[in-house]
Amino acid sequence: MALDRWIALALFFVCVLYGYSAYFLMDDLLPPIMRRSPIWPSSFPKVLAVGGVLMSLSVLFNLERSSEQPQSDINLSRLWEYNVGQAVLLLGLMVVYAILLRPFGFLGSTFLFLVGGSLILGERRFGLMALVSAIAAGTVWYLVDAVLGIFLSPFPFFLMGS
């Protein structure tokens, strides 16, 4: 089964769960006075659930009966020919950045993210990487914190005091 139909199947289950919640769970919590209104919090979700289920089934069973599907930019049958490893490592690096941003401070974590990103992509000019990353981290912090007025803790928590 092609990826688009697997996704349609997954979305079908999402819509069924969403619809189950809208049809059978939400209305129990409704105050009696609201029950006299023609519109309930669950009304619109009920319509959406039905639409979502129908459309996911339409994609799943190819009810449009279209033989011409646009070609994806990435050929999934030859996925190993692309830089999948680099992409996964960069996504991992983003997760690490998200977790470390607060405790490690903006400057340190951004510097490490930019250096790490370049490193993953194959850059080996360490001096240049460090220089570019340091300048970028400092400049962005100054622009966001001082110019735009959005507080970004620059240093790790143990250096920031109370």
Partner: protein, 497 residues
């Protein structure tokens, strides 16, 4: 109209707003030139900054400048290295790149700039004429018509998704609408579908979703396939002579006139947008050209650059008509702009012209200014701006990822938002792998609360779904929406049998 125009001029010609136009155009050109980064990604990245500015006029002027700059930047990379930054400039590369290879990159860029300027200017004049007229008609609409109109908009976007893609586009629209129901809505004062997760109480962040749908998948694609971020032959060094002859100007003038008009009206249609306008413009001009000129198309014909460029810029302007007058975005880009406006406490729609004329008219005036800036400032700077194409991808991609993360973080100041962004970004990349169009999802997400509000109001007024048959215009619009979905499928089946 004259009074409004003067208000717009007074607002747009403040020092801050002129800076916004110039800055927006430069940033847009700079980033739009990078292959793979389209206006949607750039505008999504710029939104937190625009929101921080606070003044809706200045913010919208900045974002409109970024939009035009990005489209212009996309044309530049199409011409110089045959790597269109955006889909709407693909047609420009058909003749732009052959001209650049023949050593006429400067001439090709000048024609693109003049055509873009003319298309944008003619589009802005038409916008000035049609937007107030449409807004005054829209003032007669009730909530039921608004509901039906939004359904038409969403259906049109799905219908334009292409053969075999309508179901997928509709599924994405429903997914966007479903996601919009998560969290506390203004209508019911109770949290829905949060599953007890505190972070979902206020729903999904619009900026996070916009980044996840466009900027992050684009960056992942750049990593996966290095040829997407190719910098090609360094043709930027060949930009010497930017002049065009009088004969050439005479040749492209009627093309620009025709395609500006056609592009504008295509841009007004929800879902059609600049990409269709540019391809259609190119095809029309090739078909109506004299036989000897037809053969030149694809080999460096100046009409082949003028047609898509004027059409796509006019279409960009045209797409503002439904946004500003009805509050309905016709494309992914205008959906992001709508999200930004809502975040700035501005409600686009027919009352925008009456309640906040300075915003409405300042945006229109800034369109003139933006196009002027692109022509007189960006064009001479192109040889220097084009140096951005020489930035190695090893440095470029981490920066794109970093700005994507920062966009979501600045908007919410919450590290959990970054994890949501990454999760959605992976999901969006998988959807792109499977050829699901992502713009309908974002448009559905942004229109979701408006659609539900109008649906609820109509239900309350008519004590049920009676509004559908009691209001003929609502019924007519809903039938039209159904036809938009059903007809392509029926035609497709008939063609097969």
């Amino acid at each position: 109209m004259l009074e409004g125009l003067l208000t717009g001029l007074a607002t747009a010609f403040t020092f801050t707003n002129i800076l916004m136009v110039i800055g927006g155009c430069l940033i847009g050109t700079f980033i739009g030139m990078l292959p793979g980064l389209g206006p949607m990604s750039i505008i999504a990245i710029m939104i937190p900054i625009a929101i921080t500015i606070g003044d809706p006029s200045a913010a919208l002027i900045l974002l409109a400048g970024v939009y035009y700059g990005a489209v212009f930047g996309g044309s530049t990379s199409s011409i110089l290295i045959n790597a269109p930054g955006v889909a709407s400039t693909v047609a420009t590369s058909f003749d732009g790149y052959p001209m650049a290879r023949a050593g006429k990159a400067g001439k090709a860029l000048t024609i693109a700039a003049i055509a873009s300027f003319s298309g944008g200017t003619i589009g802005a004049i038409l916008l000035m004429i049609f937007a107030p007229a449409l807004a005054s008609v829209a003032l007669l609409f009730h909530s039921s018509e608004y509901f039906a109109l939004m359904v038409v908009g969403l259906s049109a976007i799905a219908a334009f998704a292409g053969t075999g893609q309508v179901s997928k586009a509709l599924l994405m629209t429903f997914l966007g609408l479903i996601m919009a129901t998560v969290g506390e809505g203004v209508l019911f004062n109770s949290a829905r579908f949060t599953m007890g997760v505190m972070e979902l109480q206020s729903g999904f962040g619009f900026v996070t979703l916009a980044m996840a749908m466009f900027a992050l998948p684009e960056a992942i694609y750049l990593v996966l396939d290095p040829t997407r971020s190719k910098t090609g032959d360094d043709n930027s060094g060949e930009i010497k002579d930017l002049r065009i002859s009088r004969d050439e100007a005479r040749k492209i003038a009627p093309v620009i006139g025709r395609q500006s008009l056609q592009g504008f009206f295509i841009g007004v249609l929800p879902g059609a947008g600049a990409t269709i306008a540019s391809f259609l413009g190119y095809a029309v001009e090739r078909n109506i050209a004299p036989k000897h000129e037809q053969d030149e198309f694809g080999k460096g014909a100046i009409k082949g650059i003028a047609a898509p460029e004027s059409a796509n810029n006019a279409a960009c302007t045209g797409s503002f008509v439904p946004l500003l007058t009805l509050g309905i975005p016709g494309s992914g880009t205008t959906a992001i702009l709508l999200g930004a406006l809502i975040a700035l406490n501005v409600s686009p729609g027919p009352r925008l012209m009456i309640d906040e004329p300075q915003i409405f008219w300042a945006v229109i005036v800034s369109m003139y200014l933006g196009n002027l800036v692109l022509l007189i400032l960006n064009l001479p700077l192109i040889p220097y701006i084009a140096k951005v194409l020489a930035v190695p991808r090893n440095f470029l991609i981490p920066f794109i990822l970093f700005f994507t993360l920062m966009g979501a973080y600045i908007g919410q100041n919450n590290a959990a938002e970054l994890l949501i962004l990454i999760g959605f970004g992976i999901g969006a990349t998988l959807l792109r792998f499977a050829n699901y169009p992502l713009a309908p999802l974002l448009i559905g997400f942004i229109l979701g609360p408006l659609l539900e509000n109008n649906f609820a109001r109509a239900m309350q007024l008519y004590d049920g779904v009676g509004f559908i048959w009691e209001r003929p215009m609502t019924l007519g619009l809903l039938i039209f929406a159904a036809l938009l979905i059903v007809l392509p499928s029926v035609r497709n089946r008939k063609a097969k049998t």
